[in-house]
Protein backbone atom coordinates (compact mmCIF):
# COMPACT_ATOMS: atom_id res chain seq x y z
CA UNK A 1 0.00 0.00 0.00
CA UNK A 2 1.44 3.26 -1.06
CA UNK A 3 1.65 6.14 1.32
CA UNK A 4 -1.16 8.66 0.91
CA UNK A 5 -0.10 11.18 3.54
CA UNK A 6 0.21 14.31 1.44
CA UNK A 7 -2.64 13.33 -0.86
CA UNK A 8 -4.98 13.02 2.13
CA UNK A 9 -3.67 16.23 3.70
CA UNK A 10 -4.29 18.04 0.42
CA UNK A 11 -7.82 16.72 0.05
CA UNK A 12 -8.60 17.66 3.64
CA UNK A 13 -7.25 21.18 3.05
CA UNK A 14 -9.17 21.61 -0.20
CA UNK A 15 -12.45 20.32 1.17
CA UNK A 16 -12.11 22.25 4.44
CA UNK A 17 -11.57 25.51 2.57
CA UNK A 18 -14.61 24.86 0.37
CA UNK A 19 -16.72 24.02 3.43
CA UNK A 20 -15.62 27.26 5.11
CA UNK A 21 -16.51 29.29 2.01
CA UNK A 22 -19.81 27.44 1.70
CA UNK A 23 -20.59 28.02 5.36
CA UNK A 24 -19.94 31.74 5.00
CA UNK A 25 -22.86 32.00 2.62
CA UNK A 26 -25.11 29.29 3.98
CA UNK A 27 -24.65 29.78 7.72
CA UNK A 28 -23.09 33.22 7.96
CA UNK A 29 -19.69 32.04 9.23
CA UNK A 30 -17.01 34.69 9.32
CA UNK A 31 -13.97 32.47 8.85
CA UNK A 32 -13.46 32.62 5.10
CA UNK A 33 -15.92 34.67 3.07
CA UNK A 34 -15.98 35.47 -0.62
CA UNK A 35 -14.24 33.44 -3.31
CA UNK A 36 -10.67 32.86 -4.43
CA UNK A 37 -10.94 36.07 -6.46
CA UNK A 38 -11.17 38.03 -3.25
CA UNK A 39 -11.89 36.84 0.27
CA UNK A 40 -12.15 38.02 3.82
CA UNK A 41 -10.36 35.96 6.47
CA UNK A 42 -11.92 36.10 9.97
CA UNK A 43 -14.02 39.01 8.77
CA UNK A 44 -11.03 41.36 8.74
CA UNK A 45 -8.00 40.22 6.74
CA UNK A 46 -8.42 40.76 2.98
CA UNK A 47 -7.08 38.15 0.58
CA UNK A 48 -7.05 38.43 -3.20
CA UNK A 49 -5.77 36.42 -6.11
CA UNK A 50 -2.78 38.21 -7.68
CA UNK A 51 -3.64 37.36 -11.30
CA UNK A 52 -7.30 38.35 -10.87
CA UNK A 53 -6.14 41.61 -9.31
CA UNK A 54 -3.81 42.26 -12.24
CA UNK A 55 -6.68 41.66 -14.67
CA UNK A 56 -8.89 44.21 -12.94
CA UNK A 57 -6.01 46.68 -12.94
CA UNK A 58 -5.55 45.97 -16.66
CA UNK A 59 -9.14 47.06 -17.31
CA UNK A 60 -8.03 50.48 -16.14
CA UNK A 61 -9.95 50.46 -12.86
CA UNK A 62 -8.07 51.62 -9.80
CA UNK A 63 -8.96 48.98 -7.24
CA UNK A 64 -9.89 49.46 -3.62
CA UNK A 65 -7.05 49.18 -1.11
CA UNK A 66 -8.57 45.98 0.33
CA UNK A 67 -7.97 44.02 -2.84
CA UNK A 68 -4.46 45.37 -3.35
CA UNK A 69 -3.49 44.55 0.23
CA UNK A 70 -5.12 41.12 -0.18
CA UNK A 71 -3.10 40.40 -3.31
CA UNK A 72 0.12 41.36 -1.52
CA UNK A 73 -0.72 39.07 1.43
CA UNK A 74 -1.45 36.13 -0.88
CA UNK A 75 1.70 36.73 -2.93
CA UNK A 76 3.87 36.83 0.19
CA UNK A 77 2.20 33.68 1.51
CA UNK A 78 2.96 31.72 -1.64
CA UNK A 79 6.51 33.08 -1.73
CA UNK A 80 6.92 30.90 1.35
CA UNK A 81 4.86 27.76 0.70
CA UNK A 82 5.63 27.40 -3.02
CA UNK A 83 3.59 29.28 -5.61
CA UNK A 84 1.68 26.43 -7.11
CA UNK A 85 0.81 25.08 -3.69
CA UNK A 86 -2.34 27.03 -4.49
CA UNK A 87 -2.98 24.70 -7.41
CA UNK A 88 -2.53 21.45 -5.52
CA UNK A 89 -3.62 22.36 -2.00
CA UNK A 90 -6.37 24.92 -2.57
CA UNK A 91 -7.82 24.99 -6.09
CA UNK A 92 -10.99 22.87 -6.40
CA UNK A 93 -10.31 22.12 -10.08
CA UNK A 94 -7.29 20.16 -8.92
CA UNK A 95 -9.63 17.47 -7.59
CA UNK A 96 -11.28 17.25 -11.01
CA UNK A 97 -8.04 17.06 -12.98
CA UNK A 98 -6.43 14.65 -10.50
CA UNK A 99 -9.42 12.37 -10.92
CA UNK A 100 -9.09 12.59 -14.71
CA UNK A 101 -5.38 11.84 -14.43
CA UNK A 102 -5.95 8.87 -12.13
CA UNK A 103 -8.53 7.48 -14.56
CA UNK A 104 -6.10 8.02 -17.43
CA UNK A 105 -3.57 5.81 -15.70
CA UNK A 106 -6.23 3.24 -14.82
CA UNK A 107 -7.64 3.12 -18.35
CA UNK A 108 -4.20 3.05 -19.93
CA UNK A 109 -5.00 6.15 -21.93
CA UNK A 110 -1.42 7.27 -21.56
CA UNK A 111 0.03 4.51 -23.70
CA UNK A 112 -0.83 6.09 -27.02
CA UNK A 113 0.17 9.59 -26.05
CA UNK A 114 -0.33 11.83 -29.01
CA UNK A 115 2.21 14.53 -29.55
CA UNK A 116 0.28 17.77 -29.29
CA UNK A 117 2.51 20.13 -31.17
CA UNK A 118 0.57 23.28 -30.48
CA UNK A 119 -0.14 22.65 -26.83
CA UNK A 120 3.13 23.23 -25.12
CA UNK A 121 3.46 23.65 -21.41
CA UNK A 122 4.40 27.24 -22.09
CA UNK A 123 0.93 27.93 -23.53
CA UNK A 124 -0.28 29.00 -20.09
CA UNK A 125 2.17 31.91 -20.03
CA UNK A 126 0.91 33.08 -23.41
CA UNK A 127 -2.62 32.81 -22.05
CA UNK A 128 -1.63 34.72 -18.95
CA UNK A 129 -0.35 37.67 -20.96
CA UNK A 130 -3.24 37.36 -23.41
CA UNK A 131 -5.70 37.49 -20.52
CA UNK A 132 -4.27 40.82 -19.41
CA UNK A 133 -4.39 42.20 -22.96
CA UNK A 134 -7.99 41.07 -23.48
CA UNK A 135 -8.91 42.56 -20.09
CA UNK A 136 -7.45 45.87 -21.17
CA UNK A 137 -9.18 45.81 -24.57
CA UNK A 138 -12.64 44.69 -23.48
CA UNK A 139 -12.73 46.31 -20.04
CA UNK A 140 -13.64 43.16 -18.11
CA UNK A 141 -11.38 40.85 -16.11
CA UNK A 142 -11.13 38.42 -19.01
CA UNK A 143 -10.05 35.15 -17.44
CA UNK A 144 -12.70 35.51 -14.75
CA UNK A 145 -15.30 35.18 -17.50
CA UNK A 146 -14.18 31.62 -18.26
CA UNK A 147 -12.28 30.60 -15.12
CA UNK A 148 -13.43 27.10 -14.13
CA UNK A 149 -11.79 27.69 -10.75
CA UNK A 150 -14.15 30.38 -9.52
CA UNK A 151 -17.03 29.01 -11.59
CA UNK A 152 -16.69 25.75 -9.67
CA UNK A 153 -16.18 27.52 -6.37
CA UNK A 154 -19.15 29.86 -6.88
CA UNK A 155 -21.09 26.80 -7.99
CA UNK A 156 -20.42 25.12 -4.66
CA UNK A 157 -21.23 28.28 -2.68
CA UNK A 158 -24.13 29.80 -4.65
CA UNK A 159 -25.32 27.03 -7.00
CA UNK A 160 -23.89 25.77 -10.26
CA UNK A 161 -26.44 26.45 -13.00
CA UNK A 162 -24.99 25.73 -16.41
CA UNK A 163 -21.54 26.42 -14.95
CA UNK A 164 -21.21 22.70 -14.20
CA UNK A 165 -20.63 22.08 -17.90
CA UNK A 166 -17.36 24.03 -17.70
CA UNK A 167 -16.11 21.73 -14.95
CA UNK A 168 -17.18 18.62 -16.88
CA UNK A 169 -15.48 19.99 -19.99
CA UNK A 170 -12.18 20.33 -18.12
CA UNK A 171 -12.55 16.77 -16.81
CA UNK A 172 -13.17 15.35 -20.30
CA UNK A 173 -10.35 17.41 -21.79
CA UNK A 174 -7.87 16.09 -19.23
CA UNK A 175 -9.16 12.53 -19.48
CA UNK A 176 -9.47 12.07 -23.23
CA UNK A 177 -7.53 15.04 -24.53
CA UNK A 178 -4.20 16.28 -23.31
CA UNK A 179 -2.64 14.74 -20.23
CA UNK A 180 -2.61 17.42 -17.52
CA UNK A 181 -4.12 19.57 -20.25
CA UNK A 182 -5.77 22.23 -18.13
CA UNK A 183 -3.49 22.66 -15.12
CA UNK A 184 -0.27 21.79 -16.88
CA UNK A 185 -0.73 23.60 -20.16
CA UNK A 186 -3.52 26.17 -20.16
CA UNK A 187 -4.44 27.64 -16.79
CA UNK A 188 -3.14 31.23 -16.66
CA UNK A 189 -3.89 31.52 -12.95
CA UNK A 190 -1.54 28.62 -12.27
CA UNK A 191 1.01 30.26 -14.54
CA UNK A 192 0.89 33.30 -12.29
CA UNK A 193 1.54 31.12 -9.26
CA UNK A 194 4.40 29.40 -11.15
CA UNK A 195 6.13 32.75 -11.37
CA UNK A 196 5.79 33.20 -7.62
CA UNK A 197 6.85 29.59 -7.09
CA UNK A 198 10.07 30.01 -9.05
CA UNK A 199 11.53 31.86 -6.06
CA UNK A 200 9.53 30.33 -3.22
CA UNK A 201 11.02 28.91 -0.06
CA UNK A 202 9.55 25.45 0.58
CA UNK A 203 10.70 22.99 -2.09
CA UNK A 204 10.89 19.25 -2.74
CA UNK A 205 14.43 17.94 -2.18
CA UNK A 206 15.96 15.00 -3.97
CA UNK A 207 18.56 12.72 -2.44
CA UNK A 208 20.53 11.09 -5.24
CA UNK A 209 22.24 8.62 -2.88
CA UNK A 210 18.92 7.10 -1.76
CA UNK A 211 17.24 7.04 -5.17
CA UNK A 212 16.91 3.63 -6.85
CA UNK A 213 15.64 5.06 -10.11
CA UNK A 214 12.25 3.33 -9.92
CA UNK A 215 10.62 6.35 -11.60
CA UNK A 216 7.41 6.03 -9.55
CA UNK A 217 7.67 9.78 -8.85
CA UNK A 218 7.81 10.65 -12.54
CA UNK A 219 4.73 8.57 -13.29
CA UNK A 220 2.64 10.29 -10.66
CA UNK A 221 3.96 13.84 -11.04
CA UNK A 222 1.62 16.18 -12.93
CA UNK A 223 4.56 18.33 -14.00
CA UNK A 224 7.21 15.63 -14.37
CA UNK A 225 9.55 17.83 -16.37
CA UNK A 226 10.51 19.47 -13.07
CA UNK A 227 11.89 16.14 -11.81
CA UNK A 228 14.74 16.08 -14.32
CA UNK A 229 17.26 15.53 -11.51
CA UNK A 230 15.93 12.14 -10.44
CA UNK A 231 18.83 9.69 -10.04
CA UNK A 232 21.20 12.38 -11.29
CA UNK A 233 21.93 15.03 -8.69
CA UNK A 234 21.02 15.75 -5.08
CA UNK A 235 19.31 19.12 -5.55
CA UNK A 236 15.92 20.65 -4.79
CA UNK A 237 13.19 21.02 -7.34
CA UNK A 238 13.52 24.72 -8.07
CA UNK A 239 11.17 24.92 -11.03
CA UNK A 240 8.18 27.19 -10.32
CA UNK A 241 5.91 24.77 -12.14
CA UNK A 242 6.27 22.23 -9.33
CA UNK A 243 2.97 22.31 -7.45
CA UNK A 244 4.43 21.15 -4.12
CA UNK A 245 1.70 18.53 -4.05
CA UNK A 246 4.00 16.01 -2.41
CA UNK A 247 2.71 13.07 -4.46
CA UNK A 248 6.28 12.18 -5.44
CA UNK A 249 7.23 12.08 -1.76
CA UNK A 250 4.23 9.81 -1.07
CA UNK A 251 5.07 7.28 -3.75
CA UNK A 252 8.83 7.23 -3.19
CA UNK A 253 9.73 3.98 -1.45
CA UNK A 254 13.34 4.95 -0.94
CA UNK A 255 13.01 8.15 1.09
CA UNK A 256 14.82 9.95 -1.69
CA UNK A 257 12.34 12.82 -1.76
CA UNK A 258 11.07 15.16 0.94
CA UNK A 259 10.04 18.72 1.63
CA UNK A 260 12.77 21.14 2.63
CA UNK A 261 13.79 24.74 2.55
CA UNK A 262 15.21 25.92 -0.76
CA UNK A 263 18.94 25.88 -0.45
CA UNK A 264 20.38 29.11 -1.72
CA UNK A 265 23.96 27.92 -1.48
CA UNK A 266 23.88 25.10 -4.05
CA UNK A 267 22.20 27.39 -6.54
CA UNK A 268 25.49 27.94 -8.30
CA UNK A 269 26.10 24.19 -8.61
CA UNK A 270 23.01 23.65 -10.79
Amino acid sequence: MKNLKYLLLRRITQVTLLVLYFGANAYGWHILEGTFGSSLLFGTIPLADPYTTLQVLATGFVLGADVLLGAVIITLFYFVVGGRAFCSWVCPINMVTDLANWLRRRLNLDKEEVNYRFLKRSARYWLMVLGLIVSAVVGVAAFEVLSPITIMQRGIIFGFGAGLSVVIAIFLFDLFGVKNGWCGHLCPLGAGYSLIGSVSLIRVKHDHEACTNCMECKVVCPENQVLYMINKESISVTDGECTNCGRCIDVCNDDALGFGIRSFTNKTKV
Partner: protein, 276 residues
Protein backbone atom coordinates in the same frame (compact mmCIF):
# COMPACT_ATOMS: atom_id res chain seq x y z
CA UNK B 1 24.90 26.33 -43.87
CA UNK B 2 21.81 24.63 -45.21
CA UNK B 3 21.13 23.29 -41.76
CA UNK B 4 21.29 26.70 -40.11
CA UNK B 5 18.96 28.04 -42.80
CA UNK B 6 16.53 25.26 -42.01
CA UNK B 7 16.70 26.04 -38.33
CA UNK B 8 16.05 29.68 -38.98
CA UNK B 9 13.11 28.82 -41.22
CA UNK B 10 11.70 26.48 -38.58
CA UNK B 11 12.15 29.14 -35.92
CA UNK B 12 10.39 31.73 -38.06
CA UNK B 13 7.54 29.33 -38.83
CA UNK B 14 7.08 28.39 -35.18
CA UNK B 15 7.14 32.02 -34.12
CA UNK B 16 4.60 32.93 -36.78
CA UNK B 17 2.38 30.03 -35.76
CA UNK B 18 2.55 31.00 -32.11
CA UNK B 19 1.83 34.65 -32.79
CA UNK B 20 -0.98 33.73 -35.17
CA UNK B 21 -2.60 31.34 -32.74
CA UNK B 22 -2.27 33.87 -29.94
CA UNK B 23 -3.93 36.55 -32.08
CA UNK B 24 -6.71 34.12 -33.02
CA UNK B 25 -7.20 33.13 -29.40
CA UNK B 26 -7.19 36.76 -28.33
CA UNK B 27 -9.84 37.67 -30.90
CA UNK B 28 -12.11 34.78 -29.93
CA UNK B 29 -11.61 35.50 -26.27
CA UNK B 30 -12.33 39.23 -26.73
CA UNK B 31 -15.39 38.46 -28.81
CA UNK B 32 -16.76 36.09 -26.22
CA UNK B 33 -16.00 38.41 -23.31
CA UNK B 34 -17.56 41.36 -25.12
CA UNK B 35 -20.64 39.29 -25.87
CA UNK B 36 -21.22 38.12 -22.31
CA UNK B 37 -20.89 41.62 -20.94
CA UNK B 38 -23.67 42.80 -23.25
CA UNK B 39 -26.57 42.04 -20.94
CA UNK B 40 -28.00 45.52 -20.46
CA UNK B 41 -31.17 45.04 -18.46
CA UNK B 42 -29.63 43.92 -15.22
CA UNK B 43 -30.16 45.48 -11.81
CA UNK B 44 -27.08 45.77 -9.61
CA UNK B 45 -26.79 46.16 -5.82
CA UNK B 46 -27.03 49.65 -4.28
CA UNK B 47 -24.01 51.88 -4.82
CA UNK B 48 -22.97 50.03 -7.98
CA UNK B 49 -20.89 52.08 -10.36
CA UNK B 50 -22.11 52.84 -13.87
CA UNK B 51 -22.53 49.43 -15.57
CA UNK B 52 -19.42 49.77 -17.72
CA UNK B 53 -17.23 50.69 -14.74
CA UNK B 54 -18.96 48.15 -12.56
CA UNK B 55 -17.98 45.35 -14.94
CA UNK B 56 -14.38 46.58 -14.90
CA UNK B 57 -14.24 46.74 -11.14
CA UNK B 58 -16.27 43.77 -9.93
CA UNK B 59 -13.90 41.01 -8.82
CA UNK B 60 -16.79 38.51 -8.58
CA UNK B 61 -16.08 37.52 -5.01
CA UNK B 62 -19.70 37.39 -3.84
CA UNK B 63 -19.05 39.20 -0.56
CA UNK B 64 -22.00 41.53 -1.26
CA UNK B 65 -24.36 38.60 -1.81
CA UNK B 66 -23.13 36.99 1.40
CA UNK B 67 -23.60 40.23 3.34
CA UNK B 68 -27.13 40.72 2.00
CA UNK B 69 -29.62 40.09 4.80
CA UNK B 70 -32.04 38.41 2.44
CA UNK B 71 -30.41 35.05 1.94
CA UNK B 72 -31.69 31.49 2.06
CA UNK B 73 -29.73 30.95 5.27
CA UNK B 74 -31.44 33.81 7.06
CA UNK B 75 -34.73 32.85 8.59
CA UNK B 76 -37.92 34.83 8.89
CA UNK B 77 -39.61 35.19 12.28
CA UNK B 78 -41.80 32.18 11.54
CA UNK B 79 -38.73 30.10 10.82
CA UNK B 80 -39.25 29.92 7.08
CA UNK B 81 -36.35 30.48 4.71
CA UNK B 82 -35.80 33.90 3.27
CA UNK B 83 -35.12 34.06 -0.42
CA UNK B 84 -31.95 35.84 -1.41
CA UNK B 85 -32.09 39.26 -3.05
CA UNK B 86 -28.62 39.23 -4.51
CA UNK B 87 -27.76 36.37 -6.82
CA UNK B 88 -24.36 35.65 -8.31
CA UNK B 89 -24.77 35.21 -12.06
CA UNK B 90 -24.03 31.64 -13.10
CA UNK B 91 -23.96 29.90 -16.42
CA UNK B 92 -27.41 30.11 -18.00
CA UNK B 93 -28.39 33.36 -16.27
CA UNK B 94 -27.42 35.31 -19.40
CA UNK B 95 -25.61 37.86 -17.35
CA UNK B 96 -21.92 38.52 -16.86
CA UNK B 97 -20.86 35.43 -14.99
CA UNK B 98 -20.05 35.87 -11.31
CA UNK B 99 -21.52 39.35 -10.95
CA UNK B 100 -24.24 40.18 -8.40
CA UNK B 101 -27.73 41.17 -9.53
CA UNK B 102 -31.34 40.93 -8.43
CA UNK B 103 -34.68 40.28 -10.09
CA UNK B 104 -37.44 42.37 -8.40
CA UNK B 105 -40.25 39.97 -9.32
CA UNK B 106 -38.39 37.19 -7.50
CA UNK B 107 -36.88 39.05 -4.54
CA UNK B 108 -36.63 42.85 -4.55
CA UNK B 109 -34.12 44.89 -2.55
CA UNK B 110 -35.61 45.60 0.87
CA UNK B 111 -33.47 48.69 1.34
CA UNK B 112 -31.79 47.89 4.67
CA UNK B 113 -30.87 51.06 6.57
CA UNK B 114 -27.27 49.94 7.08
CA UNK B 115 -26.83 48.68 3.46
CA UNK B 116 -24.72 45.65 4.50
CA UNK B 117 -23.81 44.75 0.91
CA UNK B 118 -21.93 47.95 0.14
CA UNK B 119 -19.17 48.37 2.76
CA UNK B 120 -17.96 44.77 2.28
CA UNK B 121 -17.15 45.28 -1.40
CA UNK B 122 -13.36 45.04 -1.51
CA UNK B 123 -12.81 46.33 -5.03
CA UNK B 124 -14.83 49.54 -5.04
CA UNK B 125 -17.39 48.27 -7.57
CA UNK B 126 -20.00 49.21 -4.97
CA UNK B 127 -19.18 52.80 -4.16
CA UNK B 128 -19.81 53.72 -0.54
CA UNK B 129 -19.62 57.46 -1.27
CA UNK B 130 -22.57 57.26 -3.64
CA UNK B 131 -24.85 56.01 -0.85
CA UNK B 132 -23.56 58.36 1.85
CA UNK B 133 -25.50 61.49 2.73
CA UNK B 134 -24.18 64.96 3.65
CA UNK B 135 -23.98 63.92 7.30
CA UNK B 136 -21.56 61.16 6.35
CA UNK B 137 -23.96 58.34 7.17
CA UNK B 138 -24.85 55.44 4.93
CA UNK B 139 -28.24 56.29 3.47
CA UNK B 140 -30.05 53.74 1.34
CA UNK B 141 -32.37 56.47 0.03
CA UNK B 142 -29.41 57.77 -1.99
CA UNK B 143 -29.21 54.50 -3.90
CA UNK B 144 -30.10 54.55 -7.58
CA UNK B 145 -30.31 50.92 -8.60
CA UNK B 146 -32.78 51.76 -11.33
CA UNK B 147 -35.97 53.67 -11.94
CA UNK B 148 -39.53 52.36 -11.90
CA UNK B 149 -41.63 52.98 -14.99
CA UNK B 150 -45.42 52.73 -15.21
CA UNK B 151 -46.89 51.23 -18.35
CA UNK B 152 -50.21 53.07 -18.56
CA UNK B 153 -51.99 50.70 -20.91
CA UNK B 154 -51.60 47.68 -18.66
CA UNK B 155 -51.85 49.46 -15.30
CA UNK B 156 -55.40 48.80 -14.12
CA UNK B 157 -55.46 52.07 -12.14
CA UNK B 158 -55.46 53.81 -15.51
CA UNK B 159 -58.49 51.73 -16.48
CA UNK B 160 -60.38 53.13 -13.53
CA UNK B 161 -60.06 50.03 -11.32
CA UNK B 162 -58.99 50.95 -7.84
CA UNK B 163 -55.49 49.66 -7.13
CA UNK B 164 -52.73 51.26 -5.16
CA UNK B 165 -50.57 48.17 -4.57
CA UNK B 166 -47.34 49.74 -5.85
CA UNK B 167 -47.99 52.99 -4.01
CA UNK B 168 -48.42 51.14 -0.72
CA UNK B 169 -45.51 48.78 -1.29
CA UNK B 170 -43.09 51.64 -1.88
CA UNK B 171 -40.76 52.19 1.09
CA UNK B 172 -40.74 55.88 0.21
CA UNK B 173 -44.51 56.25 0.02
CA UNK B 174 -45.70 59.61 -1.30
CA UNK B 175 -42.13 60.49 -2.19
CA UNK B 176 -41.02 57.99 -4.84
CA UNK B 177 -44.57 57.09 -5.92
CA UNK B 178 -47.46 59.47 -5.37
CA UNK B 179 -51.09 59.15 -6.42
CA UNK B 180 -52.52 61.67 -8.82
CA UNK B 181 -56.28 62.11 -8.68
CA UNK B 182 -58.18 62.58 -11.90
CA UNK B 183 -61.84 62.47 -12.83
CA UNK B 184 -63.08 59.38 -14.62
CA UNK B 185 -65.04 60.96 -17.47
CA UNK B 186 -66.34 57.59 -18.65
CA UNK B 187 -68.39 56.94 -15.53
CA UNK B 188 -68.71 60.56 -14.57
CA UNK B 189 -68.72 59.80 -10.87
CA UNK B 190 -65.50 57.96 -10.10
CA UNK B 191 -61.92 59.01 -9.63
CA UNK B 192 -58.70 57.68 -11.09
CA UNK B 193 -55.92 57.14 -8.57
CA UNK B 194 -52.93 57.17 -10.84
CA UNK B 195 -49.43 56.13 -9.68
CA UNK B 196 -46.71 58.60 -10.61
CA UNK B 197 -43.03 57.75 -10.11
CA UNK B 198 -40.65 60.55 -9.12
CA UNK B 199 -37.27 59.84 -10.58
CA UNK B 200 -35.38 62.07 -8.16
CA UNK B 201 -36.49 59.89 -5.23
CA UNK B 202 -37.03 56.36 -6.62
CA UNK B 203 -34.15 54.05 -5.63
CA UNK B 204 -35.13 51.24 -7.97
CA UNK B 205 -35.58 48.69 -5.18
CA UNK B 206 -38.34 46.89 -7.10
CA UNK B 207 -40.81 46.46 -4.23
CA UNK B 208 -43.49 48.08 -6.43
CA UNK B 209 -42.78 45.66 -9.27
CA UNK B 210 -43.01 42.74 -6.84
CA UNK B 211 -46.32 44.08 -5.44
CA UNK B 212 -47.99 44.83 -8.77
CA UNK B 213 -51.14 42.78 -9.16
CA UNK B 214 -51.26 42.46 -12.94
CA UNK B 215 -50.23 39.22 -14.63
CA UNK B 216 -47.05 40.83 -15.84
CA UNK B 217 -46.16 43.87 -13.72
CA UNK B 218 -47.37 47.18 -15.16
CA UNK B 219 -44.76 48.97 -13.06
CA UNK B 220 -41.23 47.71 -13.43
CA UNK B 221 -37.70 48.78 -12.64
CA UNK B 222 -35.20 49.30 -15.43
CA UNK B 223 -31.61 50.46 -15.11
CA UNK B 224 -31.87 54.27 -15.07
CA UNK B 225 -30.04 54.52 -18.35
CA UNK B 226 -32.85 52.58 -20.03
CA UNK B 227 -35.82 54.06 -18.18
CA UNK B 228 -35.03 57.71 -18.81
CA UNK B 229 -34.90 59.96 -21.83
CA UNK B 230 -32.91 63.14 -22.40
CA UNK B 231 -34.29 66.40 -23.72
CA UNK B 232 -31.04 67.94 -24.93
CA UNK B 233 -29.40 71.20 -23.89
CA UNK B 234 -31.28 73.38 -26.37
CA UNK B 235 -34.65 72.95 -24.66
CA UNK B 236 -34.94 75.53 -21.92
CA UNK B 237 -37.73 75.76 -19.38
CA UNK B 238 -38.76 79.40 -19.73
CA UNK B 239 -40.77 79.25 -16.51
CA UNK B 240 -37.84 78.01 -14.48
CA UNK B 241 -35.59 80.88 -13.43
CA UNK B 242 -32.56 78.66 -12.93
CA UNK B 243 -33.03 76.86 -16.22
CA UNK B 244 -33.69 80.20 -17.94
CA UNK B 245 -30.13 81.24 -17.08
CA UNK B 246 -28.89 78.62 -19.54
CA UNK B 247 -30.46 80.55 -22.40
CA UNK B 248 -28.38 83.61 -21.54
CA UNK B 249 -25.20 81.55 -21.29
CA UNK B 250 -25.39 80.43 -24.87
CA UNK B 251 -23.09 82.17 -27.29
CA UNK B 252 -24.63 83.17 -30.60
CA UNK B 253 -21.71 81.90 -32.66
CA UNK B 254 -22.14 78.47 -31.14
CA UNK B 255 -25.71 78.14 -32.32
CA UNK B 256 -25.81 75.70 -35.16
CA UNK B 257 -27.91 76.28 -38.24
CA UNK B 258 -29.58 73.04 -38.95
CA UNK B 259 -32.21 73.78 -41.54
CA UNK B 260 -32.66 76.26 -44.34
CA UNK B 261 -35.46 77.92 -42.42
CA UNK B 262 -33.45 78.45 -39.27
CA UNK B 263 -30.92 80.56 -41.17
CA UNK B 264 -33.44 83.41 -41.01
CA UNK B 265 -34.22 85.03 -37.72
CA UNK B 266 -37.74 84.13 -36.53
CA UNK B 267 -38.72 87.81 -36.73
CA UNK B 268 -37.73 88.04 -40.40
CA UNK B 269 -39.69 84.95 -41.18
CA UNK B 270 -42.80 86.37 -39.58
CA UNK B 271 -42.44 89.89 -40.96
CA UNK B 272 -41.49 89.21 -44.53
CA UNK B 273 -43.63 86.12 -44.93
CA UNK B 274 -40.79 84.17 -46.47
CA UNK B 275 -42.06 81.02 -48.09
CA UNK B 276 -40.13 77.78 -48.14
Amino acid sequence: MANSNNNRRKFMATTLQSVGLTALGGLLWSGYTDEVKASPLVLRPPGALKEEDFLKACIKCGLCAEACVNRDSNKNKDGSKRDGTLQMAKGGDHRMIGTPFFIPTEVPCYMCDDIPCVPVCPSGALDEASVTNEKGDLDINQARMGLAVVHKESCIAFWGIQCDACYRACPLMDEAISLEYAKNERTGKHAFLLPVVHSDVCTGCGLCEKACVTEKPAIFVLPTEYSTGKAGAHYVKGWDKKDQLRAGERKLDQIETKTERSEEAPADYLNTEVEY
